[in-house]
């Protein structure tokens, strides 16, 4: 008897405890959850909804399902923009990684007060807002205000115009590398600091040189951090927007409104009042980013451990 009366009570109390625990859990998640839903999920859902309609100046708005996406993937403005950011990534990311890895390795080996100062200075560009950084470079590239003209003049040469159609690629490459290399350096430096020093000791006892330690121990052990950086850089570069948008008033010819997919989406939405197509471009870009990151992670699945 006692068993039969006990059981439902204990089940009930266990259930209510579970419910209470669940509620407490939800209460803890709620602040984040509300912000997440209101500021991320809802706008994305709305943008997705918008992207399924087509708006034209004559004829108004109509439902086209994936019509905007089909248009985007056959729109030379969008495709050229995607091609540009992919080319840009192919050059930029290895360059950025090489620079930040080299600096991180040097700073890992050299332990002086100067090294600490350098670390701060190299990190500093990341602390400067993109807008200000881009504006500053705009002036540095300038013929009248910048130092380039004078430097080249002293060699009797004409300074290259990094804001011209032919050189804007390199002008932007330089700005982005300058801005981000310090940040990636810190990530790599932290990873290097996390390596167990006994490994170096063992290697040295086995007769490994400094170079061999770097190549055989340090770099393989920071590989997961390198993959992380790569994914960050890839996503960031495919969404390239701030720097070209800020330099545009100085280089309108070299940076047209459809320079990168994000700028094209901005132009469609806010200057041509075509929010629907702008939303579709954004989603199409999202798809491109997803595919690129997936291909990349697939290619590096053996070494990359941070996502598996």
């Amino acid at each position: 008897m006692s068993v039969s009366t006990d059981t439902p009570v204990s089940t009930k109390s266990r259930r209510s405890t579970t419910v209470r625990q669940n509620l407490t859990g939800w209460a803890f998640v709620a602040p984040f959850g509300i912000v997440f839903l209101a500021l991320l999920v809802l706008p994305i859902g709305y943008a997705l909804y918008l992207s399924l309609f087509q708006k034209s100046l004559i004829g108004g708005t109509r439902f086209v399902l994936f019509g905007n996406y089909i248009k985007a993937f056959s729109d030379p403005s969008f495709l050229d923009g995607v091609w540009f950011v992919i080319r840009f990534s192919i050059i930029l990311i290895p360059l950025q990684m090489a620079v930040s890895l080299a600096i991180a390795l040097i700073l890992d080996i050299v332990v002086t007060r100067f090294a600490r100062f350098s670390r701060l200075m190299i990190f500093l560009p990341y602390a400067i807002p993109t807008v200000i950084g881009a504006l500053m470079w705009g002036f540095l590239y300038s013929d009248n205000f910048g130092p380039l003209a004078e430097i080249f003049e002293s060699f009797g040469r004409q300074a290259p115009d990094f804001l011209s159609t032919s050189l804007i690629f390199y002008g932007l490459l330089n700005i982005v590398t300058w801005q981000w290399a310090g940040y990636y350096m810190i990530i790599l430096y932290a990873a290097l600091q996390g390596i167990d020093p006994t490994l170096y000791e063992a290697a040295r006892i086995d007769g490994a040189s400094q170079w061999q330690i770097v190549l055989r121990i340090k770099i393989p052990l920071v590989a997961p951090a390198l993959v992380l950086i790569l994914v960050f850089a890839l996503i960031g570069t495919l969404q390239f927007f701030n720097e070209p948008k800020i330099l545009q008033p100085l280089a309108a010819g070299a940076i047209p409104n459809d320079f990168t997919p994000n700028m094209y989406a901005y132009q469609q939405a806010f200057s041509l009042a075509n929010y629907n197509y702008g939303a579709a471009i954004s989603f199409a870009l999202g798809a491109v980013v997803f595919v690129c990151v997936y291909i990349f992670l697939f290619a590096t699945r053996k070494r990359g451990s941070f996502m598996s």
Binding site: S56, L57, I58, G59, F139, S142, D143, N144, F145, S164, T165, S166, P249, L250, A251, A252, G253, A254, P256, N257, Q267, F270, S271, L272, A273, Y275
Partner: protein, 444 residues
């Protein structure tokens, strides 16, 4: 910016930094100016004239039955983006909005503006020239009250011209010869062809008799686009030639870089509008070593027997379709910046080149010895004739896209990847494709 709103149709003492409110534009409780007569109905206004506050005060003092609540929602593009967003959202637009002529057709196509034909147009019709009205009209409808214009002229440096023994060219052919002479003598470039100024290039097209667009909303969805006409090609090929020969600069205009070049004497001329002296002075031109070296001459012509006056820029007051009382709003649109005191301040400080014919014809304006031009009577000699002869342009809802496409082609001409004619063909193709995609029936 933090407006301490009073209980009534409130006014704020601060906020004159011109940044205005970030919230609803149609909200009359957040004015930058002080409302003189709190009992009268209020009309909201967005404008970015440098002397907007004085102009609005003048209006409010003179009117008992309506008051203007003014906000600076940003200059040009910023204000249009906000207005555009408000129109798309269905609320938040001001009752009256300062709009440049080349934007009117775009907003009109979205039913964002009110036709002023029956709202007081007849009373002020005689105050403005035919060209001024054409620029603010779409088809038969009038969608703005003209305020200022930009008749074009050639601003040149007398010091450079004297040093190299040049005279202002009267034709484009002469301009090329003069520029060549200047270059051969080791002088600076003659002018500049900036890819970020598609509006100037469009004015040049008109200067050669081109009619790039025909558009009348009455003909539902029809548009004529002739951007690869012989006239347009001739203009672009001409500039292409000047660039190839190194006779003109190709830097973007309205940048610190360009202004520094203007002050340094890197350009012998600035082919620009009547409002340019005001803009240049604001940017510091004509104050230092280059003080008193500027003069104005009429624009070069393709055919001196049939001269064509051209215009760059200019603005109007339009009534938004979200206006609660369109009649009252129209009264404001026609009334603000129309009184003598405001107009006088505007032209004397060279903030605007007025389109009001009473001002244009007045001896004070005609004979004014412009300080920037070292006392030259530039209004009488250059700008008033240009303004009077100006026949207007046809703007279309494709305007924004067209400018962006033209900028691309101008950049292609500059970097040598296309000749002027090729650029015109590519431009035509690009704009026609956009027009068709937007549902227009295109006549080429």
């Amino acid at each position: 910016m933090l407006a301490v709103a009073g209980a009534l149709a409130a006014c704020t003492a601060g906020g004159s930094d011109g940044d205005g409110n970030g919230g609803g534009g149609g909200d009359a409780s957040n004015c930058t100016n002080e409302i003189k007569n709190p009992d009268a109905p209020v009309v909201t206004l967005w404008a970015w004239y440098p002397n907007s506050e004085t102009v609005v005060d003048n209006f409010n003092e003179a009117n008992d039955d309506v008051q203007v609540c003014w906000t600076n929602a940003g200059a040009g593009g910023d204000a249009y983006d906000k207005f555009q967003t408000a129109i798309s959202a269905g609320s938040g637009a001001p009752d009256v909005m300062m709009v440049e002529a080349d934007r009117i057709a775009t907003f009109q196509a979205q039913d964002a503006l009110v036709d002023l034909t029956d709202l007081g147009y007849d009373d002020v019709k005689a105050n403005f020239s035919e060209g001024a009205w054409k620029d603010v009209s779409v088809g038969d409808g009038v969608y703005g009250a003209p305020i200022d214009g930009g008749p074009m002229g050639m601003i040149y440096r007398t010091d450079v011209f004297e040093q190299y023994g040049l005279t202002p060219p009267t034709t484009w052919e002469e301009l090329e010869a003069t520029a060549q002479k200047l270059k051969d003598a080791g002088g600076p470039v003659f002018a500049s062809f900036a890819s970020n100024q598609p509006a100037t290039a469009t004015a040049y097209f008109y200067g050669n008799g081109a009619e790039p667009f025909t558009y009348d909303p009455a003909n539902e969805g029809e548009i004529g686009i002739k951007l690869n006409s012989p006239e347009v090609k001739e203009v672009l090929d001409y500039w292409d030639g000047l660039i190839d020969k190194g006779l003109v600069g190709t830097e973007n205009q309205f940048t610190p870089e360009y202004i520094a070049g203007v002050i340094n004497g890197d350009y012998a001329t600035y082919l620009s509008a009547a409002w340019a002296p005001g803009y240049l002075q604001g940017a510091g031109v004509g104050e230092g070593a280059d003080a008193g070296v500027w003069a104005a001459a009429p624009m070069p012509q393709w055919d001196t027997a049939n001269p064509i006056a051209i215009n760059w820029g200019g603005s109007a007051f339009s009534v938004s379709s979200q206006a609660q009382d369109p009649e009252l709003a129209a009264k404001v649109a026609f009334g603000v910046y129309a009184d003598q005191a405001s107009l006088d301040e505007g032209w004397q400080q060279q903030i605007i080149f007025p389109l009001n014919v009473d001002v244009l014809d007045s001896p004070e304006f005609q004979d004014y010895e412009v300080p920037f031009f070292d006392g030259q009577q530039a209004n009488k000699e250059v700008y008033v004739p240009a303004a009077n002869a100006y026949k207007g342009m046809t703007y279309t809802p494709l305007g924004q896209y067209y400018y962006s496409a033209l900028t691309k082609q101008m950049a292609a001409i500059i970097d040598g990847s296309a000749t002027g004619s090729e650029a015109a063909d590519a431009l035509q193709k690009d704009v026609v494709a956009y027009a068709e995609e937007q549902g227009f029936t295109v006549t080429e």
